[in-house]
Amino acid sequence: MNDVLKAVDLSKRFRRTEALDHLDLSVPEGSIYGLVGPNGAGKTTAIKTLMNIFQPTGGSAEVLGVDSRRLGPHEFAQIGYVSENQEIPEWMTVAYLMNYLKPFYPTWDNAFAAGLLRQFDLPMDRKLKHLSRGMRMKAALASSLAYRPKLIVLDEPFTGLDPLVRDELIEGLLDSAEGTTILISSHDLAEIESFASHIGYLDRGRLQFSEEMSSLAARFREVEITLDDAGQLQGQTPSNWPASWQLPEVSPAVVRFVETRFDPERTASDLRRMFPDAQQISMNPMPLRTIFVTLAKASRKVA
């Protein structure tokens, strides 16, 4: 599968702040790639660098096969970009915005555009500045879908929206962009976990991991071990503690941790080796939200 978007060793520095730190990122064609991470992780910087809004200070990126620094009208005619902090021409009405943008896009589909406006229930004659935040996002999304872009880039599109509007936006996006590659950033995994096919976790400008959602859920387990000998560990993790066992909590009788590379046979074998006297071992799948909290905590601890 081709990568619609690919960053290699991409860096962006603002004076003394390393906002992007040698980012390697691949977004496969047709995927819905969720770029998640806490506030200030570098998600918006990454997207703006990929969109040629910022110039990278190191590395390179390709978008639709073109060097991101050379993105021009031809490429932007195939990209739909919506951002929570984008300044839109608020003096325009919804209808004027759509009519104004139409000549810029050779692939603009009038019927499709009309359908989007109906689906989002947008008032055509109202100025954008008089719309609610949610309605403005809908207008921005409609104007970015109407030409059937090959790539849709959404930067924190759901921030500050109520759940109903968020669901409408997601529904509209998924209905209208089937087969389209989507890169969507969010600081809240719950917003995108229901529909993202791939996930990347960015923290402090570094991509901590990037993989398909299904494999991510499969490789995390919350492990709890009840020990026979209550004084065995004396509150310390053993010296040969595996690196993939994150966030250990050791009490005299119970040990808890998160296995980040779960493999039924290997993990069971490791547990038997580390805790031969274990009274009980439980390994439970984790919700994605918990996985990310774990990852965030682990990366902060390392930093």
Binding site: I53, P73, H74, F76, I79, N85, Q86, F104, V153
Partner: protein, 488 residues
């Protein structure tokens, strides 16, 4: 993107801007209309109307501010600095965007001014088709002075507040640096500024500002390099402020050949100090400093030529004290005599010593010709070399198209050869107004006494060349020139 597609997109963006700024555009048109009306009114002679007269000049500043505001709005509707503008990720061609903004400036700034000029010229009897070159020049100047600077500033700033603060900052930097450099350079270089090439100062300033503006616009529209373009702008303005103080160069003078052409050989011209009992005098003195107005004789001037002495720079050397005293000043004329100022420090020590004066004298050489006789009339009549003149309310009122003739014009009447005010325009460029209307009156004559049935002559002294000459006068005793009253 093909050229056709770029133009189509530019027009599409232009139409969007027109729709958005339709009310502001209407106000700008109204201002231009009032400006035209004021010009038409003032061409009759603003001094004739104490209420409305003289309004066009301040109104022109208001109009320029209005246009700058309009340009700032249109350019910042697709702001270049920043990372949140919607257009950055839309299929905008930067070329189209730039064309659309220039198109807007041409349609809503240049065109109204052109129409205003054409209307004013036509209403005053000057066919616009005869002044196409002048009108085109004025459009170029309008673009350089009124369009490009706000265009560049708006393209390198994010909002009106930032634009205003940046403009004020740059103005302060230019004024401060220029003032500092002028003070620093004073006496260290030979300025040689004369009336004939004063225009170079302004042309240099505006030319530099336009060049910097073009560089900033290009950087912003094609690279969005805001930090770089701001750095270039600030350093360039500092350089402009510095070069503003430097003397006119032969290359700059050559921009207007035949007018301020520098000539090397001035051996035919003789300048000597003149000793006379009643024609010299001291002007200022402190304990150590004295300004002597030294009378001079200028001879060897061919027929049909006149010579003016501009700024004189130089120094005096006293053989005993070896003191070197800088000397700079503008020559003057009083009565029938010409004077050059000799400014000397330590005057009490050297007043009776035979000193050597080394002077760099700047000459302006004029070609002289006379037009006339022309009969005076109450209605406007054609005057060759000027435009139209008439006697109105006791004054001679003349209208010239686009700019006043580049000549000192002396109006003389009848056998008495009465000398009227001299009218002079140094700049080869068009003035602010499409019509330059000038009034002159006879010194010591009461209003209403011009038209006494006699013919009028106009003496034209057109600057033809400039020259600089190093002159050394030895054994000058400054005490010989002090303390006498100027001839009345």
């Amino acid at each position: 993107m093909t050229m056709r597609q770029s133009l189509d997109q530019a027009i599409h963006i232009f139409r969007k801007d027109v729709r958005r700024l339709r009310y502001e555009i209407a106000v700008a048109f109204a201002l231009a209309g009032v400006f035209t009306a004021l010009n038409l009114h003032e061409a009759k002679g603003w001094w004739l109307d104490q209420t409305m007269g003289g309004l066009s000049s301040p109104f022109q500043s208001l109009l320029a501010l209005g246009w700058a505001y309009l340009l700032a709005l249109v350019i910042q509707s697709e702001a270049l600095p920043g990372d949140r503008q919607f257009w950055l990720t839309r299929p905008y061609s930067r070329t189209s965007l730039l064309i659309s903004k220039f198109l807007f400036a041409m349609v809503f700034v240049n065109l109204p001014m052109l129409i205003s000029d054409i209307v004013t010229l036509s209403a005053n009897g000057f066919p616009p088709t005869s002044h196409i070159a002048g009108l085109a020049w004025k459009q170029i100047l309008l673009t350089m002075i009124i369009v490009l600077p706000p265009f560049a500033l708006a393209s390198a700033t994010r909002g009106l507040g930032e634009l205003i603060l940046t403009s004020l900052g740059l103005a302060i930097v230019i004024m401060f640096t220029s003032s500092f450099m002028y003070g620093f350079m004073y006496g260290k270089v030979t300025y040689g500024w004369s009336n004939a090439d004063r225009w170079i100062e302004g042309a240099r300033l505006y030319g530099s500002i336009a060049a910097v503006a073009i560089a900033v616009i290009a950087l912003q529209y094609f690279r969005r390099a805001t930090a770089l373009s701001r750095g270039i702008a600030i350093s360039s303005f500092l350089l402009v402020a510095f070069t503003y103080t430097l003397p006119a160069s032969p290359t700059e003078r050559a921009m207007e050949p035949g007018y301020t052409k520098a000539i090397e050989d001035t051996s035919w011209l003789h300048v000597e100090p003149r000793y006379c009992e009643n024609c010299a005098g001291s002007a200022h003195s402190t304990d150590d400093f004295q300004q002597i107005l030294m009378p001079i004789d200028v001879t060897g001037i061919p027929d049909g030529t006149s010579v003016e002495i501009g700024i004189v720079t130089g120094y005096a050397i006293s053989p005993e004290t070896r003191r070197v005293i800088y000397n700079t000043g503008q020559s003057s004329t009083a009565g029938q005599h010409r004077y050059i100022p000799v400014n000397v420090a330590y005057y009490p020590d050297i007043r009776n010593q035979p000193i050597t004066l080394n002077l760099n004298v700047h000459f302006e050489i004029y070609k002289h010709h006379r037009v006339g006789p022309v009969a005076m009339n109450q209605t406007f009549f054609a005057v060759p070399g000027i435009g139209y003149c008439a006697e109105l309310s006791g004054r001679l009122v003349c209208r010239a198209p686009l700019r006043w003739p580049r000549a000192m014009i002396t109006v003389r009447m009848g056998a008495a050869d009465r000398n009227f005010n001299q009218l002079f325009s140094a700049s080869p460029f068009p003035g602010d107004s499409p019509i330059t209307a000038v009034s002159t009156y006879a010194s010591g004559m009461s209003s209403g006494s011009i038209s006494d049935g006699r013919a009028m002559f106009l003496d034209f002294d057109e600057p033809s060349a400039t020259a600089s000459r190093l002159i050394e006068w030895k054994n000058i005793r400054l005490a010989d020139f002090e303390g006498r009253a100027l001839e009345k």
